[in-house]
Symmetry: D2
Subunit: 341 residues, 4 copies
């Protein structure tokens, strides 16, 4: 069966796995203070041009978001997010479980604008009976495959400065964002108070590197991780993987492979004149198809049904990954061509 | 200065205050297990035709909502509310502070419909990555002065049964709702899993009586109150007031007085051809006035500015209470007439 | 029946009640920003010699502790308390409900020592797998009727400075502490980061004044109160009472009356050669009596059974209050004399 | 350097690693509903003789405890634990972060007794101002290397039935407990409401299998995992490892290897007449040594300093693991012999 369901169903890229196997028998201290984690942290600091940043390694994405936002915010402080944001849509109330209100703002393309943040702050910052807006959460790439430009990130930074907010970027798919946008890791280091460099969806077995650049958010973070159950006993497993991914540019290379596959697929869909829900430049594509076609497609392809468009059409999601092959794309397009004719 | 700002700025109705003074020197057990609380509970059980109901007395409205919803819900369970609901708009994230997601639904008139609840449950009940809808929160009268009819409450009960949800009514202004709707206390007793009979905004010095009719929600509630800081040491103060309010029909009578005043004021506003934001049958009225008029009005009248309508007009709120006098209404209408001419 | 059960079963002192009745019909803004609260705050600032202090008025003691500690601490920060402390023993896990660990330390007389605090901090401050000690909670008078001297408070302040801890004093019975110790309100203002001046147990209908002297703990406190359900709608009720209590020295006078009664009762118990659990100088006394005597006593006197001493003896608690009369004390002592002979 | 610091510093046992490598390129559904997790669950159900049990796979131990206890308890319910329990000593307040009080009971040997539980319940179950005891937490083996016998577990079950408590066993080192005690996996299945079968400390790369046998604790558990950030995206990584560990008895075999090494080391320490803090039958040993010897030992051996015994002696901890070799033990004993002579 062809697999276009998501980018986290494979294990690890062979080079990552090899690094884990190679170091398997070593005996190191636990909890992320080993040499591999230190080396990975140095690599990240260099790549982000943030020599003072703290980097913490966390197994999963929800865990990273929950731990970071729980550490950064006071009980009465709230998070501004796109209404399609992962913390709003797919984390079962993880942030509220920490006690915090989310302020979801309506977006069409997954991207929050500085204007929206500004308007919300005007409404609630002075209102003592409202939870206080304090952190802007964005994901990049977004849940709709769209990507923030450097200018957009700068505008968000500016509105955060105006209203004394933190800017946090959930980089579960940061690799793809880096591959298709003008914003570099240095930009994230300069513009965000904290952000993650996601591993799970870009070739690692698991792992999110949380980069904290704002010194005010650093104290006691390890204690917070421990309390949240987010500190891996064999912490070096994360360090080893990030070293392998970042040392020779593998991380960006894998993201580029996923993007290349997505571009090919996207061109093919265009040739078949299949309408798209949204113009996504990254590794998630959202074609709209007749329900009958979707039903037939499910017999040979694994993918996710996204949303209902009208009585006879639905939107589905195709995701490419570093391991997607030319053959898989050709086969999928051929099948679609056949089903649509 | 004329006072139409809210219905909780006076102290207590003289009869309530007299009861507090009369019993002041008594020495009773604390924490709400005294004879006055017991007697008030019997009165409420009779009025609601719920002989098995538990009744708890809590000082404030946010405290009552926070304690009740915190006791009723499991961590991953969420609350469905109108986007104008008090817990969504005026409690600074109190419910999230307990760890629970709110699902605010857009309403024009403050009232949630069974259809909206149904649609939301279809979306999230089976989705393990979403917080689970479990409780429908309504306020009656609503924050916009509108009122649920018995039929509307029955429809909500039905959708709650379909989806295994609790129905909770915040009755901070239940007196006014009872005065203008066909739904009786017996209806609330039959249709809600729990509801409050608000005292603070209807002549008591303070106090909300929380009526729990669903036996599944009763165990350990007092412990939960203690943990939430919601158990008044001198609990009898609440029992004494509810006895005084409910024994001779004072509670409904005071609500009727507020409604009568509101009706007079409403008629007067109509005669002056002042447009209203919403057609509210209860003691909150929402006239739309030119900004210049509003500014002048503020010199002689205390009221709340509600929302911006256009560049030159805003909506304000007038609230009547049991103590509003004919003279005050006449004076307000005369002043408006003069300012508008 | 003679009443020595506690000091919060009466209503309010007549002068307090009179003030509430006198101002009952006034219409003031809500939520504690009215003129009475402002005036009470000025009085408290003067009495404590803390012109910059913030004062907040909260209905109940558990609510005050829960709101304050919840606002002051980060999730991973913990509270050091005597194992007899109110938050450890009588608040149903209210502080843990906010997410915080308590570190209860064993005490015989209700009083924490600076040495104990020091030893605990040595153990846990550097240990990332432990909750971080951050706040020392004391109650004065303690739950065992003992009282901290100024020197003891200074020693606690010093150890708090050493370890960067907050010092918080639960003053539910601060009146009695002031009446029998050398520490003045000015001392509390100078030594504590925050403390309460309790009203409920010293003649008010209800109310605790929370004094915050540490500027770092002030921001957003009102929002936190709102979120915790700890902001009284008719906030002036608290301001009016504190004005009445503090303007002419009534607060200290009532505490002195309770102490005078306790001293008389204590002398009488000594004359009867009744052993005491602890040498308490304040309004809680802990006589040890044969169980048979206790049983007979219960027929005529309301009091609390405190603890089992041996198979044939138990400790009970007598509490005096501002309204305890000479006759009541004489009657109690006569009855005890008779039962013991 | 010789390594006796802990049992979670190696990677995975080669057979576990091989299974991960072999399945690495497979594409399976995520979040623990894949075929490997299903197969591991069937194996565990058979081994525990609990065909209806739910099994969930969680990456880390603190995460497993936090998620389980957070799901099982209501806000006002508390946990009874030995004062040496992992949740009390090494999780930075993780359980309190969920809102729950811990009741730590003093133990000398790491083991809670049914009598202690009984006494605590007598004290607090009826006291509305206390957090309600609801769950007994034990770890087996304990943090001091001791082990509960079947009879002791049965006694705990009985006291839990008497007081309506849950019995939860933290099995981070359950392998070693199974290897040295008469209690079998079937006993855990029959006696505990829930327990974990720890992988991290017994040859897995990471992972704890949480077995829930009480149907009342099953509903919505996956949602709770998601909310706590405890659901691994590539969930099959856990299933694959548990399959490899349980299919051919590897799990018990690795524990037996650690125990065999510990027994040899223990005999050697006895021969050297080194006193022990506690008589531990499992893979953690607690010798007491002169401080001077400890200092010299640290140059050649990695171990943990446990506690101060007197001015000149301290207790240290040696931990053996499945990978500890005869040579390492011999070398350690030779070194100790030399240092002590």
């Amino acid at each position: 069966m062809l697999f276009f369901r998501n980018d986290y169903s494979n294990g690890a890229h062979p080079a990552i796995l090899e690094a884990l196997c190679r170091t398997n028998a070593e005996l190191t201290v636990g909890y992320g203070v080993d040499g591999y984690c230190q080396k990975a942290t140095e690599l990240i600091r260099q790549l982000c041009a943030t020599p003072q940043a703290e980097v913490h390694y966390i197994v999963g994405g929800t865990q990273a978001n929950k731990t970071a936002l729980g550490a950064f915010l006071r009980p009465w402080e709230a998070v501004i997010t796109a209404d399609s944001g992962h913390i709003q849509v797919h984390e079962a109330g993880a942030i509220e479980h920490n006690g915090h209100r989310l302020y979801p703002l309506p977006v069409q393309n997954g991207k929050l604008t500085a204007e929206q943040v500004h308007a919300l702050c005007q409404l609630y910052t002075q209102d003592e009976t409202a939870a206080a807006p304090k952190l802007v959460y964005i994901s990049n790439t977004t849940e709709l495959g769209t990507v923030y430009t450097r200018a957009e990130l700068q505008a968000l930074r500016q509105v955060c400065d105006t209203w004394d907010l933190y800017l946090y970027c959930d980089g579960a798919r940061l690799g793809c964002a880096l591959a298709v946008s003008d914003a570099t890791l240095e930009d994230y280091g300069a513009l965000c108070d904290a952000f993650t460099i996601g591993g799970t969806k870009n070739g690692l077995l698991f792992g999110e590197a949380l980069v904290i650049t704002n010194p005010a958010l650093m104290p006691s973070f390890r204690r917070c991780m421990k309390q949240q159950g987010a500190m891996l006993a064999k912490g070096r497993l994360l360090g080893v993987q990030y070293c392998a991914a970042l040392e020779d540019g593998l991380y960006l290379q894998l993201a580029q492979q996923a993007i290349d596959s997505a571009n090919q697929l996207s061109s093919g869909l265009k040739r078949l004149q299949i309408p798209m829900l949204i113009d996504s430049p990254s590794n998630q594509l959202f074609p709209i198809l007749p329900n009958a076609v979707i039903q037939q497609l499910q017999e040979a392809v694994s993918f996710e049904c996204w949303s209902t468009v009208d009585d006879e059409h639905s939107c589905i999601r195709f995701v490419t990954a570093w391991h997607t092959t030319q053959e898989e794309i050709d086969e999928l397009l051929a099948l679609l061509s056949q089903l649509l004719s």
